[in-house]
């Protein structure tokens, strides 16, 4: 039972992180129909930003965290401005291939600067967040993840539901032609969705770095897990991304715990294949409102 609880909390947390980073992926897809193959690298860049700032600059951790998030946001804006905007109006396959190229470029840059070694962050989380419950010991990072993750979800939820810019972003995802006809600045919407996606991915990367250590190969492999997650949840559903992430995270951890650790990385892809066979639109995929 203790072992089960341990796995459950671990799975939930990791799943939550998968879900958050998948949320960024879904946002880019919804607004511009682009599948971002560089998502894993965005995760990694977030983790390395954080690493660099904690190692070099002697600043308090919360400030480092915020600066790193800001860096990710700006990076997302820059990527959109420099690489994606010139391709607006070109066939989608060009844009998708561009993200594949971006992935290789980012990975190469990270390897060039930091090499392929495993880094770990200094231990900085307060011990208060550690939960002890009988035999179970849950490291503080899990509690912190749940708090930060929920905070982010709430903030973005409010942003999309109530702020004007959030509503413009949803309108572009819904019907781009109509949004254009009303003068919505579609380019700004694309830029913002890349920026927010990079920010959320970067945040997941930082936290995953705290849990597993920072290594470019591991982190970009996690980025690849975005695919099973979004296929499970439905490519165009932000809620689906979160729930899909949690399911994949739990499956992975339980497989690792009860069956075999070597299977844990395979399970998400088995789920991916099964979902594609049975329910290709995913759990919460677009159910088009049809009324004539």
């Amino acid at each position: 039972m203790d072992f089960f609880m341990q796995l459950l909390v671990g799975g939930l947390t990791v799943g939550f992180l998968y879900g958050l980073s998948a949320m960024g992926f879904v946002m880019i897809f919804k607004s511009s129909s682009v599948l971002n193959f560089a998502h894993g690298e965005l995760l990694a860049i977030g983790a390395y930003f954080f690493l660099a700032l904690t190692a070099w600059a002697n600043l308090p951790i919360p400030i480092v965290f915020i600066i790193a998030l800001g860096g990710c946001f700006v990076l997302g804006l820059l990527v959109e401005r420099i690489f994606l905007r010139p391709l607006i109006g070109e066939p989608l396959i060009f844009v998708i291939m561009l993200t594949v190229g971006l992935a290789a470029m980012f990975k190469g840059l990270i390897l060039l600067i930091w090499g392929g070694n495993l880094y770990t962050y200094p231990d900085f989380l307060p011990k208060i967040l550690e939960i002890r419950w009988g035999m179970i010991r849950i490291p503080p990072v899990y509690g912190a993840t749940l708090i930060i993750g929920t905070l982010f979800l709430t903030l973005f939820g409010l942003f999309f539901k109530f702020s004007s810019q959030g509503i413009y972003m949803r309108s572009v995802a819904d019907n781009q032609r109509a949004a254009l006809s009303l003068g919505v600045n579609v380019k700004r919407v694309f830029a913002l969705s890349w920026a927010i996606a990079a920010l959320v991915a970067g945040m997941s990367g930082m936290v995953l770095g705290i849990i597993n250590g920072v290594n470019v190969h591991n982190l970009s492999a996690i980025g690849l897990k975005v695919f099973p997650v979004v296929i499970l949840g439905g490519l165009d559903s932000i809620g689906g991304a979160i729930i899909g992430g949690i399911i994949i995270g739990l499956l992975e951890t339980f497989t690792g715990g009860y069956l075999s650790p070597s299977l844990r990385d395979v399970v998400p892809y088995i789920v991916l294949v099964l979902i594609l066979l049975i329910k290709p639109y995913g759990l919460f995929g677009l159910k088009e409102i049809e009324r004539v």
Partner: protein, 266 residues
Amino acid sequence: MEQILLQLNNISVVYSDVIQVLKGVSLAVEKNRIVSLLGSNGAGKTTTLKAVSGLLKPENGRVTDGTILYRESEIQNQAPETITRHGIIQVLEGRQPFKYLTIEENLRVGTATRWGKPYRDDLERVYRYFPAIEKRRRGLAGYCSGGELQMLVMGRALMAHPELLLLDEPSLGLAPLVVREIFRIIRRINEEEGTTIVLVEQNARMALQIAHYGYVMENGKIVMEGTADALRENPDIREFYLGMSAAGAVKSYAEVKSYHRRKRWL
């Protein structure tokens, strides 16, 4: 003579660099007027509107020749973001709501041209014109009826305070009573807000009732123009667009022989 707000000088529009849709269209729209653009399917009415609003661009179309003057400055081939900020808003054909947004959120998208300004009063104003949609303000637009959607998309455009409103087939697929209601509101918007309106319609009878001036298009050209009254009395218009015989009676299929008038402008 009233001040001219919009002027198209001999414009040609080409899609994908090969398909020529407009072949030299010229028209003028006076301020605070309703101008109606009639014509059969494929005549180029919608393309004319899109040329003005800049929405040709995402469809790979371009104004290749001629000029579009809005308040005496050229606006052809500008991006829709720029043109909407001049105060030109097009209401697209086929309604195009944001299905997964509520009515009120749909209306709020109409504030995109003046992001950050207060919009509460405008919401109230739109609800005054269209009381039918106020009842459903929290409901998803995807579940509204056709009439409600038409009101929604027109209200959404009003939120932008347009100076020139381009309406593309507002009567499409609506019940006759709803059509009458919609046209009544169009006239009210014109009278109370002073909005200049260009109205593209298949329903020539309705359009000529509320319009001040009309143009008839065919095959990418303007073939006839005149005041709405003159057009209503024109025998060609009566025959081809209003479904009446030249004598004035409603055309009957029971007549043994029916002669088609020649379209003399062809």
